[in-house]
Symmetry: C2
DNA sequence: CTGAAAGCGCTTACAG
DNA sequence: CTGAAAGCGCTTACAG
């Protein structure tokens, strides 16, 4: 005999009353509620989650799927940890737990999601690393499990999403570089079908068009979203016949390898070539010269994910009546010295 | 009507038989088993985890607790993601799921563990970032929940643990530096009570003693386990009256800030001062000059954690009969150029 | 306001 | 080899 039964016997009342007291139902006398709460705290009683889940049909858990070792996640580093904290902060207000579900490298991401849903392990899901077309989204949409994606996708459906402002970043980057006189601007993109690569490229193209600069496909380099990928990017640039005078990296980790390769070639970012990166990380400030990049609050992003997800869950839509939301998360320019290099006569700004 | 009931009705047999077929019990005819398995696959049936858990008293889930935003975890970056993959690989062989439980920054780590255990969310736990004395360990030990720690602790008990070989790393680092003629070797340690800081310091002291070099407490700098902390470490070194000629960093991220501060002062690692870092990361190779540091396989470490944990779980001790294991995980020296700087006459090696 | 009872979806002795 | 039934720990209509 254990659990709520033990607690009830200990107090000499029925398990029903104990349950009601614990769950803050109105139909319990204040005196009884206090006795129950006190005894529960004393004995360290917490309701068994399986019992609750089975009865209520909900698990009180929200799953955040990450792919622990796939190409798309090379740069996960401390990105997700900040986001988790924000999500959790919102969920905890509703006594929901955030659990991270790592999809193994040798597991199929779609199967993984299917199993998770079918076994009813969580009440809702957050998925990340969205692909151009993402079958996980198609599956979740028809499964009726509430979910939100961190990242857009071309896969249609009325699901909520939040995505970083790749358009804004690409636009501002091109604008800055063009106004410093650059016309040959190379760009490093992930070499897979993750959606952000497409968005970034399109925005880059559009920005060039605004400045009447013809798009040169040879300036688009697809590479790994890692230090190694950035190194390779640097290598390819250096080998180009008509070498670009400025580069844009769509993943922060790429910048490390890029710096290294440029250094080996005796080129210094900001002096010999202009470099603009993507997300600011603690590293950015400690690179030499400091990186021009873009800032966001991971915690706020996480909170927003939590709120938007709750808004799409029937149980919480009253508390968050905004409905299904789509949101482009703004990023703030952090000017460094890596893009000081100018192609105009007056090099110094 | 849903779940196993629906599947049973669809096949015209009892739910008991369906369950037995699904769970590979011997007492089911081969024909029936095949029919059931086929129908389950077709209908995408997976047993509801709550129902199973309630009945069996186990959840088939192993929890890995990380603290998403505490000082101790500044350098989590991609360390854990590699480890997760290894753990999962082992657990999946036994149809166990790995779920990551992030303890929020504003939550108490002990309370978090207590809730997790009391609610019976997982069958066993992996905890990390062990402190010199760790009350989580004391609690888990008396709670009877199987667990393993990634990191040792002074808190006693017969629990299994795996820890990185801080002794070996500190020893080899000091040996290398001393044999290059260094006698003033500064060391950067975390400024909290995480156990690895104590182990590293003790080993550093012992190694100095072996070389008959007196221990100078002013060469021990306590700082944040981050880029910023490394920067501060560099700053303190530069301000020392009798400046050390070599430094050891106990956390890989510290090195970034250290390099930066040295660079600002016009000092180059490997030329003007010797630097040895801790764990090799993708970054190490892309720093200039390349870092002397230590390598380990995160995936293998994760697998070992999984195996040792299973060995301590009654259900699996037959498959892993090694009992409670304590293991120091070896790390392999990766010589770079950051410690080339020599204090002896013949500077080049 | 409280208690007794039903039932969530499973697994597993127990009969046959 | 299969079916009928009990029961895991909860929550929640339903009576009183």
């Amino acid at each position: 005999m254990k659990g709520i039964r033990k607690l009830a016997d200990h107090l000499g009342i029925s398990i029903g009353t104990v349950s009601r007291a614990l769950n803050n139902r109105p139909d319990v006398s204040e005196k009884t509620r206090e006795r129950v709460l006190k005894a529960a705290a004393q004995l360290g009683y917490e309701p068994d989650q399986s019992g609750r889940s089975l009865r209520q049909g909900t698990t009180s858990a929200i799953g955040f799927v990450i792919e622990s070792a796939r190409d798309a996640s090379d740069s996960v580093d401390n990105f997700f940890l900040g986001v988790f904290d924000g999500v959790q902060h919102v969920l905890n207000r509703h006594h929901l737990d955030l659990i991270i579900l790592p999809c193994a490298a040798d597991d199929d991401p779609l199967d993984f999601i299917k199993r998770t849903v079918a076994r009813r392990m969580v009440d809702a899901l957050i998925i990340s690393g969205t692909r151009r077309r993402d079958e996980r989204i198609a599956y979740l949409a028809q499964s009726k499990v509430p979910f939100i994606t961190l990242g857009r996708s071309e896969t249609p459906g009325p699901y909520p999403w939040i995505d970083l402002d790749f358009e804004g970043v690409a636009n501002i980057s091109v604008d800055r570089l063009v106004s410093a006189g650059h016309r040959r601007i190379a760009v490093a993109l992930p070499n897979n079908d993750i959606n952000l690569g497409f968005v970034y490229l399109e925005s880059y193209k559009a920005a060039l068009a605004r400045h009447n600069i013809p798009f040169d496909p040879s300036l688009v380099v697809r590479t790994m979203s890692s230090e190694q990928g950035g190194y390779q990017f640097g290598h390819e640039i250096l080998g180009m016949a008509d070498r670009p005078t400025a580069v844009m990296a769509s993943y922060e980790l790429m910048t490390i390898g890029l710096y290294r390769r440029l250094h080996e070639a005796g080129l210094m970012p900001g002096r010999d070539i202009a470099v603009i990166s993507f997300r600011e990380s603690p590293l950015s400030r400690f690179l030499s010269p400091p990186l021009t990049c873009f800032r966001l609050s991971l915690r706020d992003l996480g909170s927003a994910l939590g709120v938007s997800l709750l808004a799409s869950m029937p149980q919480y839509e009253d508390a968050y009546p905004q409905g299904v939301t789509h949101r482009i998360w703004p990023m703030e320019l952090v000017p460094g010295e890596s893009d000081n290099h100018s192609q105009t006569g007056s090099a110094k700004r």
